[in-house]
């Protein structure tokens, strides 16, 4: 360790500055009438049996560094030559898998006296996982006028702090629920400061993570233990003006999750997910939406199902309606009738009659719309559900 320093009058020392920790006291107490009564371990004067002291302890090891945390490091160039050294400068870069970031590049110091040091604290929010290399270059002028320099490399791994899993529930073409599971895969507990869904411009979002009186669904435990999974729920809606884009690619990007946590002594970490993509609902040229239908109905009594048919294609369509009867609810009226020509982006209303013949929760299925020009059939099942009451 000394050998490399010998060649150069300067020595570079580097220390990672994670947050210090607060010393834990271990009280060893006596009562007044005991053989000896002074406490032996470290403890607070006012509160000897309390376990957390007031003394900060510097980090004793490099520790782990996680994506989204800030890498802070102390760089110290010390002159141990016994003579003054001229024109000393320090440059530090961080080499990641994909890029090289300059953390500091000091202007040359005219003279660095013996036993003095050129100090620098660099910090960088790590945005990549995997190996990182801190590259430090120290340059100085030798007494003979030559510019000399030496480099030091310090390698470390950036680890993944959280496991984020998302799941979408498409409710309607313009509404979707996002379920996010966030798991703490670090070894220490963290406090979630913020878990926000920043929606893409097409959407508005409502977080569903509080219960009635604005209490967090996670209860009073403010921290997430290692390997715990917390589940967050968001309700996204297309803004009314963007409804027509429901089946375009633009609607598949719904936003980014912004996660901010704090760990030991407020050490902050922040992660933003990439754009979350939902599978766009089957893009169909012809879209059917239920406008009105009863939720409950008596058995053997007909009811009306009012639907809207929209032509999302670029061309006008000539359509024909067929019914395929199901076992529990029967279509009534004429099957195989033609509709008026439907222009692009236009919609029309359809009023159909059905009769339920079995009690219970029944599903309306079996509507078929045929594009007569392309002889293509659009099948509509699971259109609506209705609770059929027996007499």
């Amino acid at each position: 360790m000394e050998s490399s320093g010998r060649e150069h009058p300067l020595v570079l020392r580097v220390m990672r500055l994670t947050k210090p920790s607060i010393v834990s006291s271990f009280p060893i107490l006596f009562e007044d009438h005991d053989l000896t009564s002074k406490p032996l371990g470290y403890c607070l004067e006012d509160l000897p049996s309390f376990g957390t002291g007031e003394l900060l302890v510097l980090p004793q090891s490099f520790g782990n560094i996680f994506l989204g945390e800030t890498f802070v490091s102390y760089l110290s160039v010390n002159n141990e030559s016994g003579n003054d050294v001229e024109t000393v400068s320090l440059k530090a870069d961080l080499q990641t898998g994909s890029q090289r970031i300059t953390l500091t590049n000091t202007a040359p110091l005219t003279v660095l006296q013996h036993n003095n040091s050129l100090d620098e604290v660099v910090s960088h929010e790590v945005k990549e996982v995997g190996p990182h290399i801190l590259v430090c270059v120290v340059s100085y002028k030798r007494p003979d006028g030559d510019i000399k320099s030496f480099r030091k490399f310090f390698k470390f791994q950036v680890l993944k702090p959280l496991e984020v899993k998302t799941k979408f529930y498409n409710i309607k073409c313009d509404e979707v629920y996002l379920e996010t599971q966030i798991q703490n895969i670090m070894q220490s507990p963290i406090c979630m400061e913020k878990v926000n869904l920043d929606p893409s411009p097409l959407y508005t979002v409502k977080a569903l993570n509080t219960v009635s009186d604005n209490q967090s669904v996670f209860g009073s435990q403010s921290y997430m233990k290692p390997s715990e999974v917390w589940q967050y729920l968001y309700w996204l809606k297309l803004k009314p003006e963007n409804k027509m884009q429901a089946f375009t690619d633009a609607a598949s990007a719904i936003g980014k999750l912004d996660i901010v946590w704090k760990s030991s002594l407020g050490e902050k970490g922040r992660l933003q997910t990439s754009q979350l993509q939902r599978a766009v609902m089957n893009q169909r040229d012809i879209r059917l939406e239920v406008e009105s239908a009863p939720n409950t109905h008596q058995i053997n009594e007909s009811f009306y199902l009012k639907c809207k048919i929209t032509n999302y294609s670029e061309r006008a369509k000539q359509l024909m309606v067929h019914y395929e009867n199901q076992t529990d609810i029967l279509w009534q009226g004429v099957s195989g009738y033609k509709l008026d020509p439907l222009r692009s982006k236009d919609s029309l209303q359809l009023n159909m009659s059905l009769i339920p013949i079995s009690p219970g929760l029944q599903t309306i299925s079996g509507l078929r719309i045929v594009d007569t020009e392309l002889s293509r059939t659009y099948e509509y099942d699971d259109i609506h559900q209705i609770l059929v009451l027996s007499c």
Partner: protein
């Protein structure tokens, strides 16, 4: 995380890879930085590990505790079912072993009985789990007369020890006893119902055998109590029986008296048959071969196996104390010493109090401590000084040793105040050796006194302070759960007439409970703390219902009662603190915070300090918002109160730290130093802030000031905060390492300075040399 102990690891990337002047590609020359982050290794306690740590894997100490209590329960209910007949003497628990041929005679019936009992125990296991009758402690009636037949008892002891050495376990080695069979021969009630008739039958037979065989010098009823699983299956030899203690002290039944006579005769028999072989049954969990109860009285009869002189001198002082100051100190003593023994222990004590001659004792009723080593602990400071600065310099280091002080409290104080903890441990060794509990004395008969227990207490505390945990573990386990009968004053009615309670200081109980935390068994610690808290609650309940601490219906004077309530409430609070600390170590932060809040809810006395402490705890956890809330509460509570000035400024400093605002934090710690310039925490924290503000040289200077101030204080014999100093020195050494590659020189200089003022208890590990 429980230790403030600096790790010998350096934070620095010691030396990065060096490519000299050449501009080699970084990726070709693999950097040799020695501090690669180790994935998933840094944390000491994984919660998963914690949850995998079943309480079942706990060491013997706890098991003893558990087993005795459960066996008591078992026993009581057994009795409850058996003793409707008056044949109490014949309780199956009675254990007498005599001649070998007893076995040949009785083996079969024993076996059946064993099995039956086992079944019974199964049957009752669940039913009695909740059976926690408190009667036993109320039964302790005022001691009557000292035990008369001491010489007889002493003799029995001799006999027992002879027999112990004369191991004749082979006789029973082929009998397979159920390990889980735990019977306890203690007290019980008489008012109960029927049990399976076979059992009764067996018991009766047994009783008959017993009585008959006594005349033939053949005690019968070899009921194995607990049998060691290993080869040396010894049977614990005890006098036949003692009388059950009923809730109301009834006059003894004629039957009982009769039996008592027989017992006496059997005692005489035993005396005559000293040389006869006996086997001793051990508790499986007990490491010692258990001697007889009467061994405790050896000191007065002179048949003891240990140094008699010191022993009796110790006794003399105790006796003096007990007699002369009995009146003046009795209230305080009673208050401080009060403890509620476990049922089995209570039964023994009650029996002693009733002056019964034949008291049935088990290994678990006695503690047989002895030192784990006879060697002096030496002086590591000297050793490391010799290594780094030469033997000559090291030889100039003079510290106090156990030899240079008096063998008493004063000597101990001297060693402790000068930081010579190792010498203080040696001093404890000496005193305890003189008291007959020295090296190699474990498992041997010795007598406890408040003094001996106090010396043990100090010894344990010092060893923990020195982190010599293995030694503590060994020695501490010899005391079981500190509930053996011989640790109660009531066990020695002639030495401490009228004195009640336990010799075990309350702080020693806490130390015992806290110890498993140091060896990474926090759940065990928690279990012990809750047990202590239960007793505290019981004591407080007793006091509040106008009884004395242990539940004796005595009318205490109002101020006496209040003083006692105060003491016990304080003790209870202390236990809560320890519970909170343990939960914190377990990383059950939520539970820990709830526990501390419970303390605040009970008393607003320490509100400011507690909220501040909780603020720091929350900050450490990362819950900055909650920490803010706590600190805000403190601001409100302590506003305009100058005595809280330091606390408030410290809090603000911490809060700024949490917000990553180093300049403001620095400012706050400097504020503290303005009016409290020697505050080591503030100095240390200021230094830390300076480092993060890229002011290494200043950080070092501040830390050196802190060290200097502590050294000055040490010279005046004022250091009370050695651990804080060690932490601050550890930080200083880290700074030295960052400052220069020649940090070793500075460390050596530091060591040399420290060696002048610090005792052998100084933790040299903090210098990382």
């Amino acid at each position: 995380m429980d230790e403030s102990e600096p790790l010998p690891v350096c934070t620095l990337f010691n030396q990065g890879a060096d490519d000299g002047d050449s501009g080699a590609d970084i990726f070709n020359g693999p950097p040799s930085s020695s501090k690669k982050p180790v994935v998933f290794e840094a944390v000491s306690v994984e919660p998963s590990q914690i949850s995998n740590m079943p309480p079942a894997s706990e060491p013997a100490v706890c098991d003893i505790f558990k087993s005795t209590s459960s066996s008591e329960d078992l026993f009581t209910s057994m009795l409850a079912t058996t003793s409707s007949s008056k044949n109490d003497v014949s309780r199956p628990e009675v254990t007498i072993e005599r001649a070998d041929d007893v076995f040949s005679l009785d083996t079969s019936s024993d076996m059946t009985r064993i099995h039956m009992k086992h079944e019974l125990s199964d049957i009752f296991k669940d039913a009695i789990a909740d059976d926690k009758s408190d009667e036993s402690e109320e039964n302790i009636s005022p001691p009557k007369s000292p035990i008369k037949d001491q010489s007889a008892l002493d003799n029995t002891d001799i006999m027992a020890s002879i027999l112990i050495s004369d191991d004749s376990g082979d006789n029973i080695s082929n009998i397979s006893f159920d390990q889980s069979l735990k019977q306890d021969g203690s007290a019980g009630d008489q008012n109960n119902k029927a049990i399976p008739s076979e059992v009764l039958q067996a018991d009766n037979n047994c009783a008959n055998n017993e009585v008959e065989s006594k005349n033939d010098n053949k005690d019968s009823g070899p009921t194995p109590k607990e049998v060691k699983n290993d080869l040396k299956t010894n049977i614990f030899s005890t006098p036949p029986s003692f009388h059950p203690v009923s809730s109301e002290t009834k006059p003894l039944d004629p039957v009982d008296t009769e039996v008592k006579d027989k017992e006496n005769s059997s005692l005489e028999d035993m005396e005559e048959k000293k040389t006869e072989k006996e086997e001793v049954i051990n508790e499986p969990t007990e490491t010692s071969t258990a001697p007889l109860a009467s061994g405790l009285f050896t000191s007065t009869s002179g048949s003891s196996s240990f140094d008699h002189k010191t022993e009796s001198s110790a006794f003399a002082t105790i006796a003096d104390d007990a007699f002369s100051s009995a009146l003046s100190t009795s209230e305080t003593d009673r208050r401080q010493d009060a403890w509620i023994p476990g049922k089995s222990t209570a039964a023994v004590l009650a029996a002693v109090a009733q002056s019964q001659k034949r008291i049935k004792l088990e290994a678990s009723h006695l503690s047989r401590p002895g030192l784990a080593t006879s060697e002096s602990l030496g002086d590591p400071v000297k050793a490391i000084l010799a290594r780094h600065r030469g033997i000559e310099l090291a030889s100039k280091r003079v510290t106090l040793s156990a030899e240079s002080v008096t063998l008493d409290k004063n000597g101990l104080e001297k060693l402790i105040t000068t930081g010579n903890f190792r010498a203080a441990v040696d001093l404890c060794s000496k005193v305890l050796t003189d008291l007959g509990q020295g090296f190699g004395k474990a498992t041997q008969a010795s007598t406890h006194s408040p003094q001996s227990v106090q010396w043990w207490h100090v010894r344990f505390a010092l060893l923990i302070r020195l982190k010599l945990f293995e030694m503590v573990e060994t020695e501490l386990s010899q005391f079981g759960s500190f509930d053996s009968a011989d640790l109660y004053y009531g066990f020695y009615p002639d030495v401490y007439p009228g004195r009640k309670g336990s010799m075990v200081p309350f702080s020693l109980r806490l130390l015992h409970a806290d110890f498993p935390r140091h060896i990474n068994k926090p759940y065990q610690a928690l279990e012990r703390f809750y047990a202590i808290r239960t007793v505290c609650k019981k004591v407080i309940d007793n006091l509040e219902s106008n009884k004395s601490e242990d539940g004796t219906p005595v009318q205490l004077k109002a101020e006496d009662r209040n003083a006692s309530l105060k003491l016990w409430n304080e003790r209870k609070t202390k236990v809560l603190h320890y519970i909170g600390n343990t939960l914190f170590q377990l990383r059950e932060y939520h539970a820990a915070i709830t526990t501390y809040d419970e303390i605040i809810a009970q008393s607003s006395k320490d509100e400011v300090s507690l909220h501040s402490g909780l603020g720091r705890l929350l900050l450490q956890l990362g819950d900055v918002r909650a920490a803010q809330h706590r600190f805000a509460q403190v601001e409100k509570l302590a506003a305009n109160d100058s005595k809280y000035r330091t606390q408030l400024e410290m809090n603000r400093g911490f809060l700024y730290l949490g917000a990553n605002n180093w300049p403001e934090a620095l400012q706050q710690f400097s504020e503290v130093l303005k009016h409290d310039p020697t505050n080591i925490e503030a100095l240390n924290n200021k230094s830390v802030c300076l480092l993060y503000l890229c002011r290494l040289k200043e950080a070092i200077a501040v830390q050196e000031t802190a060290a200097q101030l502590q050294e000055d204080a040490a010279k005046q014999g004022l250091t009370s905060n050695r651990v804080a100093l060690e932490n601050s020195l550890s930080n200083l050494v880290t700074l030295y390492e960052l400052e220069s590659s020649k940090s070793l020189n500075k460390k050596q200089a530091l060591l040399q300075g420290l060696a002048l003022t610090h005792g052998d208890g100084f933790n040299v590990a903090c210098l990382k040399m």
